[in-house]
Structures are given as C-alpha cells and as structure tokens.
C-alpha cells in the first residue's frame, strides 16, 4: 500500500527528503515504517531524545497500524514558541 512519509526539521535533514511515497506491506505500523526509512536513510534519530510520530496530522504511537494513503510525519521534539 502507498504511504506518504513526511519528515520535518532535523529529521528532514537526516532523511534527505521532506516528503516521499513508500510502498509498504498491509498492516505496517508507524514503527515499522520508521525502521524502513532508517534502512534507506541511516539513523534518523541521531541527537534526538525522542522521535515524534503523527498520522494524518494527529499524534500517534509506534504501534499505530497504517492504512493506504495515510500521511505519516516524523519529527523531533517541538521547539516553537
């Protein structure tokens, strides 16, 4: 199934893309998707105390099961304000 993965801020720099489509097996979790990105791009959590995940613009955990056309965002702890 097609999943769009979006990377933000320092994670984008580590991934080398800001948005890319991945073809992943059915019932892939957000955590599986992170490991898949890491296989292709190397360690995407370097220097981070935690990697945050969101599916379709809502925060989620690594065990969240993805569905076709989901947008999974990977990003570092926020630092706005």
């Amino acid at each position: 199934m097609k999943i769009k993965i979006k990377a933000c801020a320092s994670v984008k720099d580590l991934c080398g893309f800001s948005e890319r489509e991945f073809d992943l097996p059915e019932r892939t979790t957000a955590g599986d998707a992170v490991r898949r990105v890491a296989q292709e791009c190397g360690d995407i959590t370097a220097g981070l105390d935690s990697l945050l995940l969101a599916v379709n613009e809502e925060y989620c955990r690594g065990d969240r099961v993805l569905a076709e056309n989901d947008v999974l965002a990977l990003f570092p702890p926020v630092s706005g304000g």
Partner: protein, 138 residues
C-alpha cells in the same frame, strides 16, 4: 471567539491586542515571545521557524478550544511566525480576554506551555557561519 494564525510576516502585536476583548471583559493578558540573541553558545544572527503547517494549525486550534472550555475566557488569539525571525521580533503572540484576571492568567499560562509542548514548529538558530536546530540539543 478565537483567532489562530501562522504567518511569515511580522506580527502586528498592537493591532492584534487592540482587536481582542470586548467591553464586557475585565482583563486582557498578552504573551509575546521573542527569540533571544544569546541563547546558544554563539551569537544568533537570526532564527528560522519551520512548521508542519496543517498539523500546527490543528494543534493550536485544539489548545484554544481547551482553554475556552477550561476557563471562562471570551477571546483567545494565537499567532506564530514561520520562516525568518530576527532577534527582537515576536515569534509568537498570545492574547486572552477574561472577565477576571485569575482566569486570564491561568488560561494564558496553559496556552503558552502547551504550545511549546505540542505544536509542531521547530526553531533553527542561524549563525554567521552555520545553523543548528534547537531541539537537537538534548
């Protein structure tokens, strides 16, 4: 009432403050965040804010709704800059209007604390000779 905005342009704090609150209210409180020039080990030339825009707006909207539900405030404004922000310029403006100051203080505090925890916006410090994402420093 609530106003939620992400913008590249400088925040017109004065106009935003004047537009918030009604004749029925007793207290209008504002918080303006400005990036500090010397927060890092080396002098910051300017800041750059990246937002995951759709989600950032949703999260800001949720925070405003939570504040409006938790305290009897009548008006709530949250504006965050994106892109380049110079030291001394506001990166964020929050205004709440309430009948009583206790409620206004509590709501304002909740909003800024929560924005800094949940809204997907990241700050990069830009130096004369490089740059660094602020959240990388753990």
């Amino acid at each position: 009432m609530k106003t939620i905005r992400l913008q590249n342009d400088p925040i017109e704090c004065a106009a935003a403050l004047a537009a918030t609150g009604t004749v029925e209210d007793g207290a209008v409180l504002s918080f303006t965040g400005t990036p500090r020039r010397d927060s890092a080990k080396r002098p910051v030339e300017h800041l750059f804010y990246e937002a995951y825009e759709g989600m950032a707006l949703k999260e800001m909207d949720k925070i405003a709704d939570e504040a409006l539900a938790a305290w009897p405030i009548t008006d709530c404004l949250i504006i965050h800059r994106t892109g380049r922000v110079d030291p001394g310029q506001a990166s964020i403006l929050i205004v709440v209007s309430a009948r009583h100051r206790d409620e206004g203080f509590a709501a304002l505090r909740f909003i800024i604390d929560t924005v800094k925890k949940t809204v997907p916006i990241w700050k990069k410090e830009v130096y004369i000779d490089g740059s660094e994402w602020v959240s990388d420093r753990v």
